[in-house]
Structure formats: structure tokens, C-alpha cells
Symmetry: C2
Subunit: 325 residues, 2 copies
């Protein structure tokens, strides 16, 4: 096997030697994919390269404040004027995560894969995958340093967004001493940490807030406050006009309540089934509970789908959870 | 004026030379006051000192996981068996913030004041005040390093809590490169960042969640979504059994909504007056609005108290805000 740093040196030589470079973050790009792609794009542009970043779809509004917007395009299959010599996939665990840009990736002269998912399928000519990095932002930081480029104000903002979003604001267990060391260097350039944090962490859609209200309105504390239960009916979803993915994270409201060990969100789907999200705080293995109802997940976060009405789903779940409390 | 580092050297010599050391955080101790006090206490105990930390009142439950609980006492005027040679006030801008422990502070042989408020009144024999530090935790970190003590697992947890809470999870503008450099070193000891963060940032009282629900239920978006308004009536406060301070931060729900510039929380007080909290995101100076109604505050966070009913307070405020949108 080729040592990792040798691969990185080869990638850097490759980027230095080519002129037209295409950067491709994964579909439904998140803060790390967006921030890392733009940071790398800006750095390559400083070296005099022609750079394009193709996104699969519009990026979320909250990232519109990022610099480097002139490098960004929403990919259009009909419009193929940019013939990339190198295509770089960013934060993309396998080729399918490139969506309809998979072809344009493979049509490039050389392909590069820069990622931190330990499940990465090594689909490119050059693959640099670092699972110990909290974010691809950490890898791009290192690439820019190795290319002897200065990390300027704009690149700092992009890397700060990449790393802070993928670590949940330095709260997830993927946060390392190196993460904070890099951030220490990035904010030395005097970027506006509080304004950036407000934009990326304290911005919600109106629908999301209304869903939070609905989740709180239906909150029940059971078993002496050790179980918190939220319910979102199909009727409420329609009244708010919310999409399924906007329910992400609602179960954490119940989980955050003092004394709660297990939080449940029951969501009525259009087909009448009940989608169940489970979270625990310290000792209940919710993947076991979800598994009993043919679902799965992790010890502290799991889910399943159940037949029947909300009341019967609730009873079946509580009966199982009580045995573990 | 005595150079600052000379003062710090004197404080360290003093602590090294004495045996019975009393540590006093400010009243209503927050994460920084609690974490810094315990970290300093544990370090001094490692040097063989007798240490007590007197709190004015019970500390919030969410900090009960902190190590060093054996050093902690709730101050009891009747029980005075510990005759301190040195008393160290922590994170305490002036003596009054010691509450009823002010006397026990002044009765100690020597008094020390370790703080980061730029308004500090320099009330002790030795005052070490560093306004550029995000948290007193940063100063205690430095003291422990200067005393050539190892920052162990327990001290790391305390300093992590001190610094992360006073910077709002590294999001406030007081966060510096040095803040992240220190955190990088603290978490190198492998403390459980995700579990600590959950406990200090993702734990709410049931009443707080119910208040959030009430604030969302009354949410109005006005002026094309540029103003968000929440209302909490006295009736709701009573029904939930909430205390005034539990309304802290509710106005940020409205502030977080995409497109909102000014968020308002109207809270009906028991005497019938209306307490107003105002927040803005990017350009409206809400201290000016509050000032018009005899209140005050900062550009992005201000407040005032108004006579009359909720509806008339709302109209008067909106009329003023609209002129600034």
C-alpha cells in the first residue's frame, strides 16, 4: 500500500501541474462539503488555476454569506463548457454520492477523492481519506499549508464553517486537539466568530420553529420523568407545510429535559405508518428497542417504523423501554 | 502601577506559602465561576493545601457531574470552623458579588481577586484582572501551569466547563486563538467532550421547554417577516409555574428565524407592567428603540418596561421599529 503522505504529495503535484480543476462536493452538501470545496477552490484560484465548483442543487440559504460564490455553479448537464483536467470529489464516501455529477467526475482527465469517511470506497485515481479528521476542512487546511499558500480571510471563513459544522460546534466526539489547534490559527486572522456562529448555528426556518412548538405542545413525561414523548401527526405536518427532513432533531427537545433517559418522537406518515425516533442519554441501548420493532441504529440514537395508530405504537414502545429503565 | 505578571508571581508565592485557602466564586455562580473555583481548588489540594470552596447557594444540578465536590460547601454563617489564611475571589467584579460571604472574605489573612471583568473594582490585597481572557478558566489554567502542576483529568474537565460556558461554546466574540489553544491542550487528556457538552449545553428544565412552547405558540411574524414577536402572559407564567429568569433567552427563538431582523418578547409582569426584550441581527440598533421607552442595553440586545396592556405595547414598539427597518 502507498503511504498516505505520498498520496497527498502526488495530489499536490497534480493540482500544481494542471490548469482546469473541477471540485465536486457530495449531494445535499453540508457545511463541511461546502466550506471545504470553496476553501480549496479559492486556494487554487490564488495559484492562477481555473476553478469550478459544481453543486448538485442550491446550497442552503444560511451559507450564502460565504465568500467565493463566483466559483459556484449548480450543475447543468446541458451546459458542458468546462473541460476539467482534474476532478476532485470532496467529503464524498462513494461515487453515488456525486448524484448526476458522477459522469462529469469520471470524464475528467484525472480523478481525486479527498474525504474523511472510514467507509470510503476509494473510487478515484488518487484517494486521500483521513477518518481521524473531524472534517474534510482539516484535510483541506493541511493541503493549503503544504502548497505554501497563505490562509487568508476568505479561506479562513470557509474552513471555520467546514470544521465547526461537522463537529457540531466542537461538541461531537470527533473533535480532537488538532481540531482546536487549527481553529486557533484560523481565528487569528480575526474572522467574526460570533456572526458566523449565529448564521450557521442560530438560524432556523419558520416551519422548523412551528414544528418545535408542535413537538413541545404534545410533550408527555412518563415513568417519573424518565421518558419524554413527542407526537407529530400527519395533520400537523400538513398544517405547517413541513417536509419530513424538517423533523430532524425534534426528538432532542425531549432528550434535553433534566431527568429524561429516553426520548421518543412518534411521527405519523402519509401512508398511516408511524415513524419512531429514539434517543437516550446515559444507559438505555435504544438500538435494542428499535431492533425489537425491526429497526436499528446506535446505542444513543435509533429508529424504527411501526404499523397501527399512535396510541398503540406508544404503548408497545413504553412497555419495552420500561424493562430497560 | 505594578506590572501584571509581578502581581501573578506574588499571588503564586502567596498560595505556595500558606496552608488554609478559601475560594469564593460570585453569587449565582455560573459555569466559569464553578469550574474555575474547583480547578484551582483541586490544584491547590494536589500541593497539599487545605482547601474550601464556599458557594452562596446550591449550584445548578447540571454541574453536579463535576469532580472535586468534596471541596464544596454552601456557606453557612453559623458554621465557622475554617480559618482561612488566604481568601481568593473568583470571577467576582466587585465585593458585593460575594453576597453574604463578603465578611468571611475580608476576615481572611490576605485577600486575592482573580477576574476578567474590565469593570473590576480592585477590592483585594492582590488583584489579577485580565479582561482579554474569555473566562477566568483561562487565568486559572495559566496559574496552574506557572505553579508547575500537571493539569490532570479532573482539572481538565473543570477548566473545559469554565471556558466553554463563558464563550457560549466558543461562539461569542470573546473567543480568542488562545482560548482554542488552551482547549486543544485540555482535551488532549481525553476528557469526554461530547458528554460534557450534552450536560452543559443540551440540558433544560421541563418548565423551560414549556415556556419555549408557549413562546412559539404566540409567535407572530410582522412586516414581511422582518419582525418576530413572542408574548408570555402572566397567566401562562402561573400555569407553568415558571420564574422570571426562566424567560431568559426566549426572544432568541424569534431572532433565529430566517429573514427576521428584530425579535421582541413581551412579558406581562405580576404588577401588570410589560417587560420587553429586544434583539436584532444585523442593522437595527435596538438600544435606541428601548431608550425611547426609558430602557437601554446594547445595539443587538436591549430591553425596557412599559405601562398599559400587551396590545398597546406591541403597537408602540412596532411603530418605532418600522422606522428603522
Amino acid at each position: 500500500m502507498v503511504p498516505k503522505d505520498m498520496v497527498l504529495n502526488e495530489i499536490i503535484s497534480l493540482l500544481k501541474g494542471k490548469e482546469k480543476i473541477l471540485i465536486l462536493p457530495h449531494v445535499s452538501a453540508d457545511g463541511d462539503a461546502i466550506g471545504s470545496s470553496i476553501a480549496l477552490g479559492l486556494a487554487l484560484e490564488k495559484m492562477g488555476k481555473q476553478v469550478r465548483i459544481y453543486f448538485e442543487e442550491e446550497i442552503p440559504d444560511k451559507y450564502n454569506f460565504l465568500p467565493g460564490q463566483h466559483l459556484i455553479e449548480i450543475y447543468d448537464e446541458e451546459k458542458k463548457e468546462f473541460e476539467a483536467e482534474v476532478a476532485v470529489a470532496i467529503d464524498t464516501g462513494d461515487e453515488n454520492r456525486l448524484g448526476k455529477r458522477r459522469d462529469v467526475f469520471n470524464e475528467a482527465g484525472v480523478t481525486v477523492n479527498i474525504d474523511h469517511h472510514n467507509t470510503n470506497s476509494m473510487y478515484a485515481d488518487f484517494n486521500f481519506v483521513q477518518p481521524h479528521c473531524s472534517a474534510v476542512g482539516e484535510i483541506v487546511y493541511r493541503i493549503i499549508k503544504m502548497m505554501d499558500l497563505v490562509i487568508d480571510y476568505d479561506i479562513s471563513i470557509c474552513l471555520y464553517v467546514a470544521i465547526s459544522t461537522d463537529t457540531g460546534g466542537f461538541r461531537y466526539s470527533n473533535t480532537t486537539p488538532e481540531t482546536h489547534r487549527i481553529i486557533s490559527e484560523l481565528i487569528d486572522i480575526d474572522i467574526d466568530v460570533s456572526e458566523i456562529s449565529r448564521r450557521i448555528f442560530e438560524t432556523n426556518s419558520y416551519k422548523k420553529i412551528k414544528l418545535m412548538g408542535a413537538a413541545i405542545d404534545t410533550l408527555e413525561l412518563l415513568e417519573n420523568g424518565r421518558i419524554a414523548l413527542h407526537t407529530i401527526t400527519n395533520e400537523v405536518m400538513k398544517a405547517i407545510g413541513a417536509k419530513e427532513e424538517e423533523c430532524d432533531g425534534l426528538v432532542n427537545i425531549g432528550r434535553s429535559i433534566e431527568g429524561v433517559e429516553v426520548a421518543i418522537l412518534l411521527r405519523e406518515l402519509e401512508n398511516g405508518e408511524i415513524r419512531v425516533n429514539l434517543r437516550s442519554n446515559t444507559y438505555v441501548d435504544v438500538s435494542e428497542i428499535a431492533g425489537f420493532f425491526s429497526g436499528g441504529g446506535h446505542i444513543r440514537a435509533a429508529g424504527c417504523t411501526m404499523e397501527g395508530d399512535i396510541e398503540s405504537a406508544k404503548q408497545k414502545l413504553i412497555d419495552k423501554i420500561v424493562q430497560k429503565l
